[in-house]
């Protein structure tokens, strides 16, 4: 028993947070450490091993709300109820077939009033698609593939992974194991600073720098997977990428062109992914027709 206090500090820094937590629980349970020691150990370990996966659904929602507000400060919303309903219904059909259909406040889609070609997804399921991008889609399969790619980013929490570890360390230090859900002014100021930093990290990644290439390819893989699961022809994605290859606005290097790997690179990988599938759904003219009707009033 005398060995425990000596051995524990080394264990504390080597083990994962979960292991430390259960270790501390066990020691507290057997009376070898006090309750306050247990809380201190858990709090320290939480700060040491802070990762995006420890961000709760509710916190993801609050990060997403502010990221969405910051995106909407750069791009105006397109106030067209019929088109937004169509985009949301299509988006929801994809969500139902996705890996993470239920999130804190659900998925919500909005068209952005810009001719720039862009699609963005904030954590917490706030997904944006520009008028410019919709204009380049020729059918529902293409639009579905883009929305599925964005849903994929949310499912895999790519936005949250852009948050620097230091912000989470700071936030989790305050959160710790405190019972309070309403914070005092000092704690609130610390959390707000971490929150601002986190928002900056996500927005810079979404709007300026773009995700790591591996996340874009992962979102493409998920787009193919969700397309097939919901019944869309996954060639909607390769058809869209093909359109982008010959797009004259590529040269402007704005929006989507700046933040995504080249369409050629993505195309090659997506084609390989589709070729590996045993069977894929076919396009349906009924869908192309309703797509054309829905986007006809695009101004």
């Amino acid at each position: 028993m005398a060995l425990v206090p000596v051995a524990f500090p080394a264990f504390l820094f080597l083990a994962s947070c979960a292991a430390v937590q259960s270790g501390a629980d066990i020691l507290a349970g057997t009376g070898q450490i006090s309750e306050s020691d247990r809380q201190a150990i858990v709090k320290t370990s939480g700060a040491v091993s802070a990762t995006f996966s420890q961000i709760t659904e509710e916190q993801e929602y609050y990060i997403g709300r502010s990221v969405a507000a910051l995106i909407l400060a750069q791009y105006p919303a397109y106030d067209n109820a019929a088109l937004n309903t169509y985009i949301n219904t299509l988006g929801q059909a994809i969500v139902y077939s996705s890996d993470r259909p239920e999130i804190y406040a659900g998925y919500h889609f909005l068209v952005l009033d810009t001719e720039e070609v862009n699609a963005l997804s904030a954590p917490g399921g706030f997904i944006f698609i520009s008028k410019g991008l919709i204009r380049r889609c020729k059918n529902e399969e293409m639009l579905a593939s883009i929305l599925a790619h964005e849903v994929g980013h949310v499912c895999s929490k790519h936005g949250l992974q852009a948050i620097k570890k230091s912000r989470l360390v700071d936030a989790f230090r305050v959160i710790g194991t405190e019972a309070a859900r309403r914070y005092g002014s000092e704690e609130l100021a610390q959390l707000t600073t971490a929150f601002e930093g986190a928002l900056g990290d996500v927005v810079e990644t979404l709007v300026v720098r773009g995700y790591d290439r591996k996340y874009e390819h992962e979102a493409d893989d998920l787009a193919v997977k969700f397309d097939v699961a919901v019944g869309y022809a996954p060639k909607g994605l390769t058809d869209f990428l093909q359109t982008m290859i010959g797009d004259s606005t590529t040269a402007s290097g704005k929006g989507w062109f700046k933040t995504h790997p080249s369409a050629e690179q993505r195309m090659e990988k997506v084609k390989g992914k589709i070729a590996a599938l045993s069977s894929v759904p076919a396009e349906a003219s009924v869908r192309t027709k309703r797509f054309e009707q829905s986007v006809a009033k695009l101004k």
Partner: protein, 161 residues
């Protein structure tokens, strides 16, 4: 001649069996969800469930979990809507409370919450949340999605696969 099984081993075995049989308690981690009568999003809702509500797992199928509410009503929830406690033999004899201690449930309302958003907004008064709130108001009922899929020959309504 058979040796009798030692008492301690019998007790340990019994504890293990009982802990394996004890129903798993799941906690709703999304703001609200529906308890559905079949494992499908557009299946009729039996009742609604909100964050923090506890349900008991009965069985699982695909991504869906059949559960029983505290009121004794059974139905299906999607696994992404609930917190599934990690199975941990070390913790089972200490109850579910221990298992959930570092979870979504324990952290509910903490960290980046409404209060932090208000504090952030007070510092950035020019940032508008009007369209964010309007986005959240766009709600597509499951029946609408089903109709969309039916008309578009998608999913189980597709004939072209």
């Amino acid at each position: 001649m058979k040796r009798p099984i030692p008492l301690t081993m019998t007790v340990s075995l019994l504890i293990l069996i009982v802990s394996l049989l004890v129903a798993e308690t799941l906690t709703v981690k999304v703001q609200s969800t529906s308890l559905r009568n079949t494992p499908k999003f557009y299946a009729p809702a039996v009742q609604s469930l909100s964050a923090g509500e506890k349900v008991e797992k009965i069985s699982a199928q695909g991504g869906w979990i059949q559960v029983r509410t505290s009121g004794g009503i059974t139905g299906w929830v999607h696994s992404s809507a609930v917190e599934v406690p990690k199975f941990d033999l070390m913790a089972t004899n200490k109850g579910l409370k221990t298992q959930a201690s570092a979870s979504e449930v324990a952290l509910a309302g903490k960290g980046f919450n409404k209060q932090v958003e208000e504090s952030y907004r007070a510092k950035h008064k020019d940032l508008s949340f009007a369209w964010v709130d309007r986005m959240l108001q766009i709600k597509i009922a499951a029946a609408q999605v089903e109709e969309f899929m039916k008309k578009g020959k998608l999913g189980e309504f597709g004939g072209g696969k």
